[in-house]
């Protein structure tokens, strides 16, 4: 017993060291989203093309909601993945053009291709706040009931798609057949 008490500080030290060591590898940039398992916030905005959109216009199946902007370089990096997903019809992608200018957004889509069903125009960033967005790019996975199920912060490339989104979608589809 006294032996144990004698070594207690050493044991506590190592336990703390292991804990703090693991802390070094935490991704502190990716904040947990408050909207997981909550419905998409209500919106009544226009698309980048000037058409009115509300929640009713969202796909009634599982879809991706991608936050993008013409100023955003990482968005250009993840763009080919969204183009492929759209071309192969794997999953519908809805865009949110976040803190951008309409003209710039239209040009960007013209230059790089448009993988989105439509892009919600959020020039003021107000809709982004309701989503808990803190910077483009971010991608949300929304289920067929319009409930947000997953969020990925920063670039969604093919490996993120494979390792994070495919399992998450499979889990969602596990219960209900689409």
């Amino acid at each position: 017993m006294t032996r144990f008490v004698f070594f207690l500080p050493v044991i506590v030290f190592f336990a703390l060291a292991v804990l703090l060591w693991q802390g070094l590898f935490l991704d502190t940039k990716a904040l947990p989203s408050m909207l997981i398992d909550k419905p998409m916030p209500e919106f009544a905005l226009t698309t980048v093309d000037g058409e009115e959109v509300t929640n009713v216009d969202l796909p009634d199946q599982i879809f991706l909601l991608n936050i993008w902007g013409s100023y955003c370089l990482p968005c250009l990096i993840e763009h080919p993945t969204f183009m492929r997903l759209a071309e192969e019809g794997e999953i519908p992608v809805v865009g949110v053009n976040y803190r951008d200018r309409q003209g710039l957004a239209v040009n960007w889509l013209g230059e790089n291709g448009n993988p989105f069903e439509f892009s919600i125009l959020d020039e003021s960033g107000r809709f982004g706040i309701d989503l808990g967005v803190y910077g483009a790019p971010e991608t949300y996975l929304v289920d067929s009931d319009g409930v947000i199920r997953y969020r990925h912060v920063s670039v969604l490339d093919e490996s993120v798609w494979r390792e994070e989104f495919i399992p998450a979608i499979a889990e969602l589809r596990g219960g209900v057949s689409l």
Binding site: T28, K29, L31, P32, S33, M34, L35, R99, S124, G125, R126, G128, I129, D130, L131, G132, V133, Y134, G135
Partner: protein, 159 residues
């Protein structure tokens, strides 16, 4: 120490005591109806953390989302919402992260109580060590009759 070194030391000391916030606060042109509203705005944007450029508060951040959130705080203050309402608004969207001073909830209880707990543990540990040392001193200083006899015998046999 050369004069130049002394000069740099002085600047360092001045930097240490200066208010960093004062020099980096972002300039917005918000208008308020009362100075009380303005003070609330300043307090809230000082106490809320920018979710994008982490480790700066909203008032010190040039980030887009910080700009938007300052605008929202202004709007809500002018619309007559209370500080509690505004904090709730922020929490619903950005979670505990947004608060430099986390709110007291079941999930944050550990954060608030751990320092007190560790302090009490430290005191308890110190007290036990003190008790033990006191006990051993008491025991070692006084010998009972039989111990005294043995000591004397030992001393005698040596001579």
């Amino acid at each position: 120490m050369s004069k130049l070194n002394l000069f740099f030391c002085l600047i360092l000391v001045l930097l240490m005591f200066g208010n960093p916030r004062a020099s980096v606060a972002q300039v917005d042109t918000f208008e308020f109806q009362t100075t009380e509203q303005q003070q609330r705005f300043r307090k809230l944007s000082d106490e809320l953390r920018c979710p994008m450029c982490q480790n700066t508060n909203l008032s010190g951040s040039t980030g887009g989302v910080a700009q938007d959130l300052r605008r929202e705080i202004h709007r809500m203050i002018v619309e007559g919402l209370t500080d509690v309402d505004i904090e709730e608004f922020m929490f619903d969207r950005y979670g505990d992260f947004i608060f430099y001073k986390p709110r007291f909830r079941a999930e944050t209880a550990v954060l608030w109580f751990a320092p007190i707990l560790f302090l009490l543990l430290g005191f308890a540990g110190g007290y036990i060590v003190w008790l033990k040392s006191k006990k051993s001193v008491d025991e070692s200083e006084s010998l009972d009759a039989s111990q005294l006899n043995r000591l004397n015998d030992l001393l005698d046999s040596k001579q």
